[in-house]
């Protein structure tokens, strides 16, 4: 593995710029590590093709920006390569709202394109599936929630939903939105031939609440509490990514001690999230004993988090500019003792998931995703690392105190469900040893830095490694006391495509396990997806 510290993002960005030299209309560097290139809409597919052909990073997100002052919508295609982010900016006027698709080059972009279409009212011509992605079935045509002209306080009329497409001649098993195998609502349709799945589609959006729009109506501090509630499992990661971005905009840096405490909470959150996942995934495999054991041990982490933050779930640990609480000596000792117990248990679980014969029949060789597939589908987090892709923001682009208290990356190469179990359990062990080092060397100092109420105008990107993978925030300020735009790209949306892809050819009974394998988080998605294969 290459040491990210040795890669200069300047040379990466310079390389990206030289690849696209002929198409650039305008180039800007909004902050270190970023390069924004304005290109014409018709050049977009060619530019993306050039980047992909030269293996320049992966498509992390498509952000839309409404610019009513110049009557246009701007689309931002963010490509990430290690610590560097290259953004292709394309402007489309209201009068002629159309963009060419890039799905011919990057198939997984279909989700991002469809989200962009319905939220901003821009037609992406040639996109394989132009169906609604995010909004409810009874949402009227021509109402675009993320346009500035849309007022969320006004009641949006309900229209009669369109009928589903023609499914004649296919045998479809619907699952959800309420189903014993689903802990959250989602709707899946599996086309089957006997016991073998031949096609799959997913429709989310049952928990779409419209948080991105709501952030534009709240102050910088209020938005943090809302974003913490994007997802109750990785609530700290959302607040973490948001405060990092806002601090960058305000040119404030949280004190060292605060950064270390953030890493401490993030590490404990990862352990709780992975133990939660281990239990739920074991339950899907019919291994309820493991479910009960791992949830019993998870209570140890919950106790530590509660002792530290006062809350079991939405920790509210972060402030813009710092953290809310300190760690005293007694808490430190309690956490260290808890970590000792958890380490012993994690070693036991590692043994269970890699040796239990009955369990291995459900996981070994099931749902295999090769490294090439993982890279093509743009998966992130433990799902990617189980397929041998070394993608971990904490290592590639260390933020906060991850430079001072680094984590080592855990990689497995098999790509099957067993590898996904092993990666997550090993990650807990890595987190435990990092947290020990952190608690032994907790830097002294203040907890909060002073931050102005109005955040200076600007745009920023912050990326955080959540338990499920890379969490990507794009934040724009216009200099006021409220954000102009907050774009959230959660890890689950990157990983969903991979389930649909790997489902084909598997036994129908393996579907709950395959789904559980990516640790899907429906509320994180905050959006709806329909992917059709076949």
């Amino acid at each position: 593995m290459t040491n990210p510290e040795l890669i200069s993002f300047d040379s990466l960005l310079e390389n990206g710029r030289s690849l696209l030299e002929s198409q650039i209309i305008e180039a800007q560097t909004p902050e270190p590590g970023r390069l924004d290139l304005v290109i014409g809409p018709s050049d977009l597919p060619q530019a993306v093709q050039t980047l992909v052909d030269n293996h320049w990073g992966y498509l992390a997100a498509i952000t839309g920006l409404d610019r009513p002052e110049s009557s246009e919508v701007e689309a931002l295609y963010h490509f990430c390569s290690g610590p560097a982010v290259l953004t292709l900016r394309v402007r489309v006027p209201y009068a002629e709202p159309a963009l060419p698709t890039i799905c011919g080059v990057i198939p997984s972009a279909t989700l991002y394109e469809r989200e962009f279409m319905e939220m901003f009212g821009v037609q992406v011509t040639g996109t394989p599936d132009p169906q609604r992605l995010f909004l409810p079935d009874d949402w009227p045509e021509g109402v675009y929630p993320l346009r500035k002209s849309f007022n969320p306080q006004e009641k949006v009329p309900q229209v009669k939903p369109k009928a589903n497409g023609d499914n004649a001649g296919r045998y479809i098993v619907p699952i959800g939105p309420q189903h014993p195998a689903l802990k959250e609502p989602g709707h899946f349709e599996f086309t089957v031939n006997g016991e073998i799945v031949t096609g799959a589609s997913v429709r989310l959006g049952y928990v779409h609440r419209g948080i991105e729009k709501a952030c534009e109506e709240r102050t910088w501090t209020q938005a943090m509490y809302l974003l913490e509630r994007v997802c109750g499992i990785c609530s700290n990661s959302h607040a973490y990514a948001y405060v990092l971005g806002v601090e960058k905009l305000a040119q404030v840096e949280a004190p060292e001690r605060a950064q270390a405490i953030r890493e401490l909470v993030a590490g404990l959150e990862r352990i709780h999230s992975h133990l939660l996942w281990l239990g739920v995934a074991a339950h899907e495999a019919g291994f309820d004993t493991l479910f009960m054991y791992s949830w019993r041990d998870r209570e140890t982490v919950m106790d530590l988090l509660e002792r530290l933050t006062g809350n079991r779930v939405n920790y509210s640990a972060n402030l813009i500019g710092g953290v809310k609480f300190d760690v005293d000596d007694e808490q430190r000792r309690t956490i260290l003792a808890g970590l000792d117990y958890l380490e012993e248990r994690c070693r036991h679980y590692l043994d269970v998931v890699s040796t239990d014969a009955a369990f291995l029949q459900r996981t070994r060789g099931v749902g295999t995703m090769t490294r090439e597939q993982a890279e093509l589908l743009g998966v992130v987090g433990p799902t990617a690392r189980a397929s041998g892709v070394d993608r971990d923001i904490r290592v590639e682009a260390p933020y906060g105190s991850y430079r001072r208290f680094p984590v080592s990356i855990v990689i497995e190469h098999a790509g099957d469900l067993e590898a996904k179990f092993v990666v997550r359990v090993k990650e807990m062990l890595v987190s435990i040893s990092t947290l020990r080092a952190l608690l032994d060397n907790l830097p002294p100092g203040e907890l909060v830095a002073r931050v102005p109420r109005r955040i200076p105008a600007g745009e920023t990107i912050s990326r955080v490694e959540a338990p499920r993978g890379e969490l990507f925030y794009f934040i724009k300020s216009s200099g006021g006391d409220k954000p102009e735009r907050v774009k959230v790209r959660t890890p689950s949306i990157c990983n969903f495509g991979s389930v649909i892809h790997t489902a084909v050819g598997h036994q129908f009974a393996d579907m709950p396990m395959l789904l559980a394998g990516i640790d899907p988080c429906f509320s994180c998605n905050d959006r709806m997806i329909v992917v059709r294969k076949k």
């Binding site: 909004l135 409810p136 079935d137 009874d138 949402w139 929630p145 849309f150 969320p152 306080q153 949006v156 309900q158 939105p177 309420q178 189903h179 014993p180 802990k183 959250e184 609502p185 959006g205 049952y206 928990v207 779409h208 609440r209 419209g210 948080i211 729009k213 709501a214 109506e217 509490y225 809302l226 509630r229 994007v230 997802c231 109750g232 499992i233 609530s235 939660l276 239990g279 739920v280 479910f291 009960m292 949830w295 019993r296 998870r298 209570e299 919950m302 079991r312 779930v313 939405n314 988080c521 429906f522 509320s523 709806m528």
Partner: protein
């Protein structure tokens, strides 16, 4: 409204049904737009530390076999129809427990364009458990209070659905 014959046999049957209902309620869980916070706490109540099963509560996958609907989250536009359908599929008498601030009032998501509001704007609710999210102890307390209210003669022995039309 069914007519009740106040015979000794019927009284005995009612007592037996109430006894069975209080001691082994089957619960179904539906998330109509929650952030997961309440859902993981509900799941935590079923696992060894809190162990809701000691009250005879069993989580059940099918609405047709369930007595209690445990609901989390504000109701989104897309989930509304499904929440109604699940409620309608449950046999009478049925009880609804709304868990979490969002389920009670819309919580942090009030005013979001895709959120209709609290659960009791869509279906009748019998027990409200506040918190963001409520602690497992609070959820257990809510369920136990609901169960003890079902004892014959206790206030609230009738479900909120009785005599009310659907919202």
């Amino acid at each position: 409204m069914e007519t009740r014959i106040n015979s000794p046999w019927n009284r005995l049957m009612d007592q037996m049904k109430a006894w069975a209902r209080i001691n082994s309620p089957w619960a179904i869980h539906f998330n109509s737009g929650s952030c997961n916070g309440c859902d993981i706490e509900i799941l935590a109540t079923l696992t060894p530390r809190y162990d809701l099963e000691r009250f005879g509560v069993k989580l059940q996958g099918s609405p047709r076999h369930s007595d209690v609907l445990i609901c989390t989250g504000p109701v989104t536009r897309q989930a509304r129809e499904r929440l109604l359908r699940i409620y309608e599929q449950m046999p009478e008498p049925k009880f609804v427990v709304a868990v979490g601030s969002c389920g009670l009032s819309g919580g942090a998501f009030q005013g979001c364009y895709n959120v209709i509001g609290s659960i009791d704007e869509v279906i009748p609710v019998d027990a409200y458990i506040p918190g963001c999210p409520p602690r497992p102890e609070a959820i257990i307390d809510g369920v136990v209070k609901l169960l003890s209210s079902l004892k014959p003669g206790a206030a609230g022995a009738q479900p909120a659905s009785n005599g009310k039309g659907m919202a």
